[in-house]
Symmetry: C2
Subunit: 507 residues, 2 copies
């Protein structure tokens, strides 16, 4: 064990989770982006552990983020809908629901050991007052509850508020500019400053901290600050990646400047695969993987992932451990010396044995690929079985919405929800990371894989207790009309009459 060779210079371990928004596995130089424009992330990998087999819990923002902070699949923590079969749901402004009070979030757990927690950037676990970060364990927040969609004219739909802690500071496109035409916005710089300031304050106070740095520049509409616009070989999306890469470098440098790098664990990943439907100027790359965001193919679920912790993690290594965002919950608790909650099923594993001995591999563990309320696929070892396939509907596809542009695998990237539960489509992801060559159902390899998979899936389904679905009801009255603090700013809008309805989810 490498860690035992070093004496930590503090009795606690700070935790930083950097979560990108719609950044793809293939967007980092170290994962094969041809332009090689992520020198800071590539250096982070060279000093840390790269996880090429790291997954999100859902191919969409809200459920993915709920899973990260609870250590539980969205089907358990309620971040799904029952309004339509296998439909992706999230938290638009009209959503009534949010993160349930029955869930325990990572910052709530970390409080047991005196951690101060801050979220910088996008929350996305519900925007009504009771669902906001400071009501759910975070001590500080600078950012927004929703995506930076807009601009709206504040009549039918309000612009998204930006919060400092529990009061709004202004709204996107108003006080917080995003020029959709030029792509210019200083938001990433603001998020960077907020992160650096938090780190410095906690280091000075010698308090253990958890920073959840959730910058969203690579989510449509993609933005970057003036200094980075036009700098990438890849267009505007690449500019945003370069600014985020720069920011990662600044944060790691800050830790070193403060001398706390040896007691700060940093993990970098993304919330879902690149949004291929946004096109090459506003969408990223999923490298060799199939399709992207919204789908349960590898392109939707496989994420870039790097762990960094000088003095504890041996640099320049690669772990082929199957892992996912929910492991960050459990691993963070282990690093903080806190026992995980014993009253609920956790889907995350403690990765510390892998971190401290990269050749160590945890027991064979399945990765479940849900879309809404349906188990679409599962990965076990190198095998991935698809029980349901679906990209998007023919209707939508014919209108030009394409989740798999330039990719079409017959019978796999289907435009109807196609059931394969009796005879799943199975891929060997080692030989075929792109999910293009289904195993022959007549082969012994298929039968052996199916036997293995069936046992694991049966056990999972038998014991699964789905949480109360939070993403079923919508209501224009719950939107961000009058967030706390709006009075001081004179930014309160008139709340319309409440008329709730069952939300419709097209994907």
């Amino acid at each position: 064990c490498f860690s035992s060779e070093r004496t930590p210079n503090a009795s606690y371990t700070n935790i930083i989770i950097m979560l990108m928004d719609d950044m793809g596995w293939g967007d980092l130089g170290v994962f094969g982006q041809p332009s090689k424009e992520t020198p800071n992330l590539d250096a982070m990998a060279a000093q840390g552990i790269l996880f090429p087999d790291f997954y999100t819990a859902n191919p969409l923002c809200s459920p993915s983020r709920a899973a990260l902070l609870t250590g539980r699949l969205p089907i358990r923590n309620g971040f799904y809908t029952t309004n339509g079969h296998a439909r992706n749901a999230y938290t638009p402004q009209e959503i009534v629901g949010g993160i349930s009070k029955d869930e325990i979030l990572l910052p709530q757990m970390l409080k047991k050991k005196g951690y101060v927690s801050k979220i910088v950037g996008k929350w996305h676990l519900g925007h009504r007052p009771q669902y906001l970060p400071l009501e759910n364990g975070f001590d500080e927040w600078f950012g927004a509850p929703n995506c930076h969609f807009g601009p709206y004219n504040n009549t039918v739909r309000p612009n998204i508020p930006v919060y400092n802690n529990s009061e709004m500071l202004g709204r996107y496109f108003e006080e917080f500019k995003i020029d959709k035409k030029t792509g210019e916005s200083n938001l990433t710089q603001m998020y960077l400053e907020a992160g650096l300031d938090f780190i410095s304050r906690q280091a000075e106070a010698k308090r253990p901290f958890f920073l959840y740095w959730a910058a969203d520049a690579t989510h449509y509409p993609v933005y970057a600050s003036k200094r980075f616009l036009g700098k990438s070989q890849r267009g505007r999306y690449g500019d945003a990646v370069m600014e985020l890469d720069y920011s990662v470098g600044q944060i790691l440098t800050k830790l070193q400047d403060l001398g706390i790098e040896n007691n700060t664990f940093v993990f970098f990943t993304s919330d879902n695969g690149a949004a291929l439907m946004s096109g090459p100027n506003e969408g990223g790359s999923n490298g060799p993987f199939l399709c992207g965001k919204e789908t349960t193919f590898e392109g939707g679920m496989r994420e870039p992932a790097i762990a960094w912790w000088p003095g504890h993690i041996r640099g320049g290594t690669v772990s082929l451990q199957l892992a996912n965002v929910m492991d960050l919950f459990t691993t963070s608790l282990a690093l903080a010396g806190i026992s995980p909650p014993g009253d609920r099923v956790l889907d995350g594993l403690d990765l510390t044995p892998v971190l401290f001995n990269h050749s160590h591999t945890l027991q064979s563990r399945p990765i479940f690929f849900y879309r809404g309320n349906e188990l679409m696929a599962v990965r076990i070892g190198q095998y991935k079985a698809h029980f349901w396939t679906w990209s998007n509907s023919w209707e939508e596809f014919k209108q030009g919405v394409n989740f798999c542009p330039g990719q079409e695998v017959a019978g796999v990237t289907t435009h109807e929800q196609k059931e394969h539960t009796l005879q799943p489509i199975i891929f060997h992801l080692g030989r075929d990371p792109g999910e293009k060559y289904p195993l022959s159902v007549l082969s012994k390899e298929y039968q052996d894989a199916l036997n293995w998979i069936s046992t694991v899936v049966q056990k999972h389904k038998e014991t699964l207790v789905p949480g109360m679905p939070q993403l079923n009801m919508c209501d224009m009255a719950v939107m961000n009309w009058a967030p706390a603090g709006c009075e001081k700013l004179g930014k309160c809008l008139k709340v319309p009459k409440s008329e709730p309805w069952k939300c419709e989810w097209p994907h």
Copy 2:
């Protein structure tokens, strides 16, 4: 200039070109292969320069190799056919032609400064006596003139001979075993030993050397030795890659052990894109690029490329210089201090300014994508214009031959030869390395790019003098029935009557 900081410890520079066979851009960890099973190549990149924008001259073995050794496009050096429009041609056993005596090969040039040259592995520039390596400038050879197809029963078609210098040692599948069922063969080990032995001998004799190390384990049928079989997460193809990666490591280590690493320039690349039609067990990965071998999409033409030269090349750097295999001819001459031949057009550039100053970029230079006798596409800067598109014929496609499995870009991966000369399909490869989003012909960007491209292409076409096509005629009588040395071995076969015909090229 970094090189001037060091004093070379010898007055000459050895040259090693390692050319893989059908290995794809995406097969190296450093280029994003998820299994990360190429530690030696990744380390070579970390100590050298990575070229993500490096190309071959043709998406098929023979013309690519002819271009590398002559510094000239196949359309100039004669490695093409006029039997069919835009058809790929190579050197099967029945080919009558080979490398023309009018061409000057790299080892012939290097002789001017006393270099000893050896080719290890696949030749593929013609197998009739006058076309073999020792007749074309090489001093030594261990390997074969053709691909390791077979086994044949030596009646209709002979097994491919393996040569030591100008005499055969035996034949593939006979004295040189390849077990197609298990994939076991010791050939890569034999090629490794031959390379190491040559290096040691020249180092001891203090003679400048050129080693052209052309191991072919990743060409169908893919093989590896027992020690590597089953070791990869990627199946048999991955086993072969691991053995080649190991061999690269052994060669670099040998240079260091001999203390000649500071005066040996090593370049690693591949002859064409991964052969996707061979399926996941016997074909590699082209990473995020479109299609593969046989096509002029990026997957057929973009190659992994690493330059290594301790003490002269600054390690861990990336050059975005557009470069290709023909540059290796010109660059090698520059390293040897030999003026390039002045009596012919060379397509290769001297890359030494880039090698010694990786931020240096040579003048904007076009990359031409030929398929047989047709200029299919051109890249200039980040733009690539397709004048003709074609994957393969409908007939063949319907029989299951697929050059672009799981990839279909409407109007681009066409199954007929489709002309776009009046309105080329243009991609921006920075934003869209996968060639999935054609620029709108109505955009200013399209018009500007087209103007730029048209000027360059017009100049190229106006001054182009095609060489005499070498790959037009076939004849069963010219096959490897009775190679030199067969008498001693009792391995001469009866030569059938000569009945030449115009070769047919399906692709």
